[in-house]
Amino acid sequence: MRTGPARIALWAFSALVGLWLIAPTLVVIPLSFTDKASLVFPPSGWSTRWYANFFSDPRWLDALFSSLQVGALVAVVATVLGTAAAIALTRSGSRWVKGSYGLLLAPMIVPTVVVAIGVYALFLQYNLLGTLLGFVTAHTVLALPFVIIPVTASLRGFDRRLEDAALICGATRWGAIRQVTLPQIAPGVVSGALFAFVTSFDEVVVSLFIQSPYLQTLPVKMFASVTRDTDPTIAAAATLIIVFTTVLVLAATFTTARRNRVR
């Protein structure tokens, strides 16, 4: 495979695959700057009116605000619960603790629509539809695996003798964890928190079931908008999401990369 033509063919094919991975999404960006009231590509003229529309329409703004609020709360709750769970998973030798690892990652694998109808049934019974509590708890379950995986990986790279040293020097158990362990595994925790936020921020299926007219997240609003109208405001919303998630994911990726280099 090191000969010329095969290598060139491989590169050409992979370039097309790379384009196929990234280009379809990028089409949304020029569309959001169109001056027409329809989603025709390429746009014939340019304007920022759809952004003006987005930022002046209370329904879009409420959805954006709800998404940010739910995402931030999910990031906090999932990171705290997930980090605690990861510590237990890497340190406890007991059988039931190890056995629960698969269970904790199960929400990543079980089809979301199945979880969604179950949660919907539960929330109907306890009047939790369209509540902040409902959104945060339901999203946290889905986000937990994305915290547990990077934090567990960080903990595996952490030398526990450092914590023992702190204990010998007179630190309490909690003090040693807070001042020695947590700073050392911080990159894993930070990337876990970012991924938890993104998981909540992008979640559609469960949200479609547990939404109400009073509380809708941005993807739910977009889903309704795609099926109902062809207003390019949705392209503006999509572009904002793309920019926002790209920044977060790059941040998370580079925090992880830095951690690996330091080790």
Binding site: M1, R2, A6, F13, S14, V17, G18, W20, L21, I22, P24, T25, V27, L39, L81, A84, A85, A88, T90, R91, S92, G93, S94, V97, L103, L104, P107, I109, V110, P111, V113, V114, V115, I117, G118, Y120, A121, L122, T140, V141, L144, I148, P150, R156, F195, F201, D202, V204, F209, M222, F223, V226, A238, I241, I242, T245, T246, L248, V249, T253
Partner: protein
């Protein structure tokens, strides 16, 4: 996903200390409590309703097994999943191979091209495909310029396959890359040193060694595709719905909790069986890794 789980599994590299078990276990409790209330209880509730509503018994399951519509939906879901798996495999294999032979800098870029869509909102990506595949969309304009006339893409299974393949690509590339990266390339040199042409060495040595990655990637893509809702709902047609769309309609539209629940249980069962297969594939990988 399976590959991610495998990589992060604490059992494969953690250093639990003997005798320190009980002290740390309680830290797991808050997460487990949340999981019990918002994951296990809902799944149980769904299963319970599938055998109690509208009347107690297995009526909903016998409906599923005798209804042409329900069975056709299941078959369609499995078919679309299989086609999507094949498409992603054909596109990902050369790409993942390239990732293992380039320099570090190129590899970072190739990885980013996979990771960015992986984390970009599913809703945004599906919306982009709606725009691209619509009757007057970019794809049809391009087809028009090469004389292939406008094709009906959106609201067809073809449209669903196109969108889902792109969305699921990362789940194929990442495990393929993880396995290919672990293959000892000196084996290829050895094969060539003994007279095999490069293509033969690749086909007879590299491809078989990469099969665990193919298995893990294919099963991950296939399993994930079975539960897809947003992409088929927006790119497909309602009368050619996949199982998740049917579940959605049964529960949200028709309030038929029993039937919706039964379909959910079937979907869950198929997923778990396939997941068992992933476990087998991964065990084979590990055995091979140990033998090497």
């Amino acid at each position: 996903m399976a590959a991610l789980i495998e990589i992060a599994s604490p059992a494969s590299g953690g250093r639990p200390r003997k005798g320190a078990g009980g002290r740390w276990g309680w830290l797991l409790l808050p997460a487990l409590a949340l999981l019990a209330v918002l994951f296990l209880v809902p799944l149980g509730l769904m299963a319970w309703r599938s055998v109690t509503e509208p009347t107690p018994g297995a009526g909903n399951y016998s409906w599923f097994l005798t209804s042409d519509v329900a069975l056709a939906t299941l078959v369609r879901t499995l078919t679309v999943g299989a086609v999507v798996t094949l498409v992603t495999l054909l596109l990902s294999y050369p790409y993942a191979y390239l990732m293992t032979v380039v320099g570090a800098r190129a590899r970072i870029w190739l990885t980013l091209l996979v990771l960015l869509p992986f984390w970009t909102s599913l809703m945004v990506r599906t919306f982009a495909w709606v725009v691209l595949l619509q009757d007057s969309g970019v794809v049809n304009q391009l087809l028009g310029t090469v004389g292939l006339g406008p094709l009906q893409l959106i609201r067809t299974p073809t449209g669903v396959v196109i969108g889902m393949s792109q969305v699921l690509m990362p789940f194929m590339v990442l495990p393929l890359y993880a396995v290919m990266n672990g293959i000892d390339r000196r084996l290829l040199d050895a094969a060539q040193g003994m007279g095999a042409r490069p293509a033969v060495a690749f086909w007879r040595v590299f491809v078989p060694l990469s099969l665990p990655g193919v298995g893990a990637g294919a099963l991950t893509v296939f399993i994930t595709s079975l539960g897809f809702y947003v992409t088929p709902a927006l790119l497909g047609s309602p009368d050619q719905a996949l199982i998740s769309q049917q579940i959605f309609t049964q529960v949200n539209g028709l309030l038929a909790w029993g039937r919706g629940g039964a379909m959910g249980v079937v979907l869950l069962a198929v997923t778990l069986v396939l997941l068992g297969l992933v476990g087998v594939v991964l065990r084979i990988t590990r055995t091979r890794g140990g033998a090497r």
